[in-house]
């Protein structure tokens, strides 16, 4: 029993940790693009990578201050969004999906390539860029703090706190936007672009705004991740993270302000709980070694996530916060 409570505590830490913030910010960005505007961005991780590397390269390679790094990361995300959007947003939705997925893979390969090594340090990645950030913490970052049955380092606690503040501010922003006439136009574009055009709205501009906003939120997520891990490595930014963020968004409920946040927390909680729980059960001998060995757990937890998502789509397609009537309307 004590072990189960430990597993719960560890899972809770994962659900509240900076990885969950990272996923939540990615998912909030995707929510703006996919949930509200109907844009298929399958390369959200590219924006996160630009955010993380924006700080890492500016601080460790160029010796610039931390805040300049933040600005560089955000600008890079805006530029990427414009580059992806300019040619594709006038076309059908699929083209953006293709362009973004290619950009995400291409950028990662570019950052880890030999020719980019002088700037990105290739596959070895960059580190030691978060000192300025950690120094801003109002508490002693060299101590460890016990919270909810788990130990948090001071720096980790600081990144996480800042991360959740960012999530809260992003949610506030999205909430303000989607209840405004701007949000109404964006949601209408998701339903039918031509109808919106025929009513005198410049659809292209709205789609671009949604793409840039979502990309900037993704970049913020990447920054939180880079600061949390204190390193930036191209292979941390695998495109699987984009799809994990989609899963979190659908779990929480798309086109809902808090959907992606709760989805991301729950996702990490479940992954971590399945991981620790299964390992504990195997260690106790409750699950025999022949059936499942401790080394398989890493894969099995994703199988469980997949199973969970399938059940979700069958029994609650709208996600946790969604409106079932709305989801059932899809037939136009």
């Amino acid at each position: 029993m004590g072990e189960l409570i430990d597993a719960l505590a560890i899972a809770l830490k994962a659900g509240l940790g900076f990885q969950a913030v990272f996923l939540a910010l990615l998912a909030i960005g995707i929510n703006v693009q996919f949930g509200y505007a109907g844009l298929l961005n399958f390369g959200q991780i590219a924006f996160a990578m630009l955010g993380g590397y924006g700080i890492a390269i500016s601080v460790s390679q160029w010796g610039l201050p931390f805040w300049v790094g933040v600005v560089v990361g955000l600008l890079a995300a805006v530029v990427l969004a414009l580059l992806l959007g300019l040619p594709t947003l006038r076309l059908r939705a699929d083209y953006l999906a293709i362009a973004t997925i290619a950009a995400a893979e291409g950028l990662r390969l570019l950052f880890r390539s030999v020719s980019a090594t002088p700037v990105t340090n290739g596959t070895r990645g960059l580190s030691g860029f978060n000192a300025d950030f950690v120094a801003m913490a109002p508490w002693d970052t060299s101590r460890r703090y016990p919270i909810l049955g788990t130990q948090w380092s001071g720096a980790e606690l600081w990144v996480t706190t800042v991360g959740w503040v960012l999530v809260a501010l992003s949610c506030l922003l999205i909430w303000l936007l989607v209840r405004s006439p701007w949000g109404r136009v964006v949601k209408s574009i998701r339903e039918d672009e031509d109808a919106v055009r025929s009513l005198g709205k410049n659809v292209y501009v709205y789609k671009m705004q949604a793409l840039v906003l979502g990309g900037v939120l993704g970049a913020l997520g990447g920054m939180v991740y880079a600061l949390g891990t204190a390193s930036a490595n191209p292979d941390q930014y695998q495109n699987a993270n984009t799809f994990l963020a989609y899963a979190a968004l659908i779990l929480g409920g798309a086109a809902r302000v808090l959907g992606p946040v709760v989805g991301a927390m729950l996702m990490f909680f479940i992954i971590q709980f399945a991981d620790t729980g299964l390992r504990t059960l195997i260690g106790n001998g409750v699950i025999p070694e022949d059936l499942l060995s401790a080394t398989d757990v890493a894969q099995i937890r994703f199988v469980l996530i997949g199973l969970g998502l399938m059940l979700l789509l069958v029994f609650r397609p709208q996600g946790i916060f969604g409106d079932r009537r709305e989801v059932m309307l899809d037939a136009r």
Binding site: L173, L177, S180, A195, L199, K201, N202
Partner: protein
Amino acid sequence: MPADPTPGQPAPHGAHASGATASSGAAPGASAPEPAWRTGDAPRRVAQAALKDLPWEVGVAKPDPAIVVDGVTRTFGGLTAVSVDHLEVQRGGITGLIGPNGAGKTTLFNLLTGFDQPNTGTWSFDGRPLGKLAPHQVARLGVVRTFQLTKALSRLTVLQNMLLGAQGQRGESFLRALVPGIWRGQEQANTEKAMDLLTRFKLDRKKDDFAGTLSGGQRKLLEMARALMSDPKVVMLDEPMAGVNPALTQSLLGHVKDLREQGMTVVFVEHDMDVVRDISDWVIVMAAGKVIAEGPPESISQNQAVVDAYLGAHHDAPLTVEEEDRVLAEAEAAIAREENADGDVIGSETRRQEDR
């Protein structure tokens, strides 16, 4: 061309003809068939009277054109979908655009509203050229359209659908959207206007339902009401009555006539000839991308080019009024022959069949 407005037409047209008589100033009100029409008589007369003395020829100049089309062609590969030399649409009137399937009516609509770009040609609205304008720019000038396949925004409520139609909304810009104080007053005014329109279209009780839950006919109503939210000068309706039950058709017709009464110019595509005769002041007939005839609705059924277009090349087109008229005339001739030859029984039998 024969300038005799068809004596002895079937019932719906008879009503129309009496309206026309009233409009020319003789004995007003003496034979007004429906009270609903009376309110709309005055503006109706303006457009119809203006068009009364025009020759019935393709490309004829209108006294007060809202839309002028010149040499517009659109080809898809080897197929010429639209090739219109000259076309004018009278301001403040209801212009019907008819033609067999594939005649290029919807393509012409798309071209006029910026949804498609032509290969050649110019066209203008109120003297302002519309070439190279994007759809939303055309809409902002006051030319708003609806679609053949209704585009209700399913996962928005009916009221949100309506509010989307309002123009010049301050809250639609990204930064101003973040400060509700800037747009709240405008939003309130728009909501009131939307509710007025919804009440007129009898959708007010549905205002909080998702548009996706409406029936096909209600979606048509919603789409028209939404277009009116933008205070358009020209309303272009692509098959507004398609798939709508007869009761709702009557109410839709009433709304279209209302538009004219409010001084809007209406262009609509329609296949139902009864509807076309009932409401249009002027009819343009297209076939194979060209305008083959235009004139008041009475003139169209006698036009040989129109009859050929419908019956000659397109046997699969739905039965039209022209066709019915022709069959009826033949039947009557046959009856006359039969009666002369004392073949009474067979003759009346034929007529009953043809009349349906």
